[in-house]
Amino acid sequence: MDDLLAARSQMAMSLAFHIVFAAVGIAMPLLMIVAEGMWIRTKRRVYRELAQRWAKGTAIIFAVGAVSGTVLSFELGLLWPTFMEHAGPLVSMPFSLEGFAFFLEAIFLGLYLYGWDRLAPKVHWLCGLMVMISGTMSGIFVVCANAWMNAPAGFDFVGGEFVNVRPWEAMFNALWMPMTAHMTVAAFQAVAFAVAGIHAWMLLKDPGNAFHRAAIGIALIVGLATAIVQPIMGDLLAKNTAVHQPIKLAAMEGQFETERGAPLRIGGMPDVEAGRTNYALEIPGGLSFLAFGSFEAEVRGLKDFPRDEWPPVAIVHIAFQIMVACGMWMLGVAVLGVFLAWRQRALPEQRWYLWLLVVSGPLGFVAIEAGWTVTEVGRQPWVIYGFMRTADAVTPMPGLIVPFTVFSVLYLVLSVIVVYLLRRHVFQSPTAAQLARIAEVDGGGAADNVQVGGDDA
């Protein structure tokens, strides 16, 4: 493995690891404050129980997310010093603002996690809201910086130097809006489906359990809404990619020839040597329509570009297919869920639908990983699209396979522990019998001052 490949692998691995924790950090606060809000409003203790248990899992994930995010901010320089030397001032705005958003997120998370018995319920709830807002904002700022790498703006390129830097223009580049919208929705969607899947699994084992029903109720609303909105966001981003990164779009779609009425390819395997995509299901004119709004529009193919500017076509195409397939599947699950809920005027808890939720649980995260693969691999060979090649940005430090291996092992161990701990937390959720006792306390008059199970504490 040469040093460039090791550096790219380490960056990819670090991003793939961090994005899971980042998404949870963005979206779980929403689920928690909905549950807590339900508790404040209805005084049903099961909701408070839910918010607190979700908070415990989130605390673990947030901590790992915070430190793995720190690793990334250093790795930008440790692995790509030449890139940062030129890009640093250009991404100064999103990263400075992200710093503050992250500050607020960490501060209010501390208040939220450790303030249950120190803050008035509404103040505590507001802290949760602040965690969600600042977490979402910090995600948006970071994606703004990434969007700049894909659609560089806000500078003049004179003699190989980035001069006349205009930071705001760089931040609000052509892709910032569609990319941040797509990723923000993705975070909420992935987390909502994962949470719904976990609680559906528990509900299958312990039917009628009010705790898990409450959890699914909240997660499903978020999941259904985002799954229905997300295809629109994705389409918006693809249309912008068609304009600003035509070569990436060509790779995503396995489009080798420049043609009018380009077909939309579903599946298929690009053959770079032969210059065509085999075994795909082709919908005539579909790509032209999706990319440019007309079945007759011309779509530029890979062969329009120098061979040394092609990204790894097969990886980008397949990752894109995986992402879209996951998205479509979740859309189907969502539409079905809305239909069932509308018809029976209640939470859809047919066993087969719960099984469907279990199966769909990981798909949001699969889609996020695949989507980032499209974005990052699809940008290659550039680190700053059209201006700086990844190979020219890498550190001169030799032996990069060593840090790559170290961080891979480290993250693998952490993943195992996190999954193990979350499993334990999930399996310790209350059973139906225990909940019946909570309900008794709830019904028993001066319940408000009694702690759950506090009689024998």
Binding site: V67, I107, L111, V123
Partner: protein, 366 residues
């Protein structure tokens, strides 16, 4: 009015000082976990964890701010540092990851007691290793050994010899001692209701203060040979003597106040002392970011970037400072918890995960 780049550099120093004074003390808390055994070990561990838990993630963000300011406003310096100090910084990152993750695993074990114990140990060890490695990196910067080829702009480094040297290691030890010192002094205030614990941390604070003095002296002696520019600045610089005296005075006040068990005064003086050490170092290095090839003005980004970053910092502070104040008021204004609790008759959950054991919130422990 100083130049914009100088103002940004001053903000950078403030952020570094804030990181050492807050995040550094969190590392110090982990360091004292290594020594938390004996009859009161359990109580010491719990007190340290309680002190760190709600605030460490917020404190940690100062480091991110330092990094962001460096690459936004001094990108040349950033790329030189990240290239030449790859090894100690990457090792420090491993420490940061292990420290934060292990602390979370220990705090929310869901009854996995063996994992909890081991996480506690990892937390303690990585809390000691991380500031040591950060100190080594800082020492390498201060030593004047990171050279940049004026013609090519490339950093001249073999990636090792610049930091694998006595002076950087002395600075590593110094930072380690400062972290332990700050934590012990803060802890005397946190646990003042428990006289035995307060005495424990008082004794540790005194020892750590001595260690800080010893390592500061060793660093200074080594600097004479290994970091001559810094040495000149520290000993003969414009305001150097004034700063040395102030720092020494603060140190004496800490010692006296600890001795007299005036813990709040000791904490205040320790904050001043820690801050002065950072500011004194920065002044001694001025106007260089990395002596002798990279100056503050020389490495600065376009004025427009500096101005916008400063505006963003000012705007962000309007939100940040009240939020920080609130966080510290809620968790650090005495263990009684203040007004909020009195006004809040809502059920009080048992949030004692840190103490481990079977499971937490009552419902499922039967």
């Amino acid at each position: 009015m100083p130049e914009l780049s100088t103002i940004v550099a001053m903000v950078l120093v403030v952020a570094m000082a804030a990181y050492v004074l807050s995040g550094g003390a969190d590392f110090g808390g982990g360091i004292w976990r290594l020594f938390a055994w004996g009859p009161r070990g359990e109580r010491q561990r719990d007190a340290l964890n309680d002190a760190i838990a709600p605030i460490w993630e917020a404190n940690h963000v100062w480091l991110i701010l330092v990094i962001v300011l460096l690459f936004s406003c001094f990108p040349r310096a950033f790329s030189v540092l990240m290239t030449a100090l790859h090894i100690p910084l990457a090792a420090m990152l491993v420490g940061i990851v292990l420290r934060g993750s292990a602390f979370a695993f220990e705090s929310y074990p869901a009854g996995a007691t063996r994992l909890q114990k081991r996480s506690g140990r990892v937390f303690a060890v990585s809390s000691a290793v991380t500031p040591f490695l950060l100190g080594i990196s800082v020492g390498a910067i201060a030593s004047g050994n990171l050279r940049v080829d004026a013609a090519t702009g490339m950093v001249q480094t073999n990636f090792v010899s610049e930091w694998l040297a006595p002076f950087p290691f002395a600075i590593g030890a110094l930072l380690l001692a400062v972290c332990a010192f700050l934590s012990a002094v803060y802890m005397t205030v946190e646990v003042r209701a428990d006289v035995e614990l307060a005495n424990d941390f008082r004794r540790r604070g005194l020892w750590a203060a001595v260690a800080v003095g010893v390592f500061a002296l060793v660093s200074l002696l080594l600097a004479r040979r290994d970091a001559p520019f810094l040495y000149e600045g520290l000993v003969h610089g414009r305001a150097a003597i004034f700063f040395q005296i102030l720092t020494g005075l603060a140190a004496v006040i800490v010692l006296g106040a600890l001795w007299q068990r005036r813990y709040r005064i000791a904490r205040l003086a320790a904050l001043v002392q820690g801050g002065l050490i950072i500011v004194g170092w920065a002044l001694a290095q001025f106007p260089y970011l990395i002596y002798p090839d990279i100056t503050i003005a020389g490495a600065a980004a376009d004025e427009v970037v500096l101005r916008l970053v400063l505006i963003a910092l000012a705007a962000g502070s309007v939100l940040l400072l009240p939020a920080f104040y609130y966080l510290y008021r809620v968790f650090k204004a005495g263990k009684s918890g203040g007004v909020e609790v009195a006004q809040n008759p809502a059920p009080v959950a048992d949030e004692s995960e840190a103490s481990g054991g079977a499971d937490e919130s009552g419902v499922d422990s039967r």
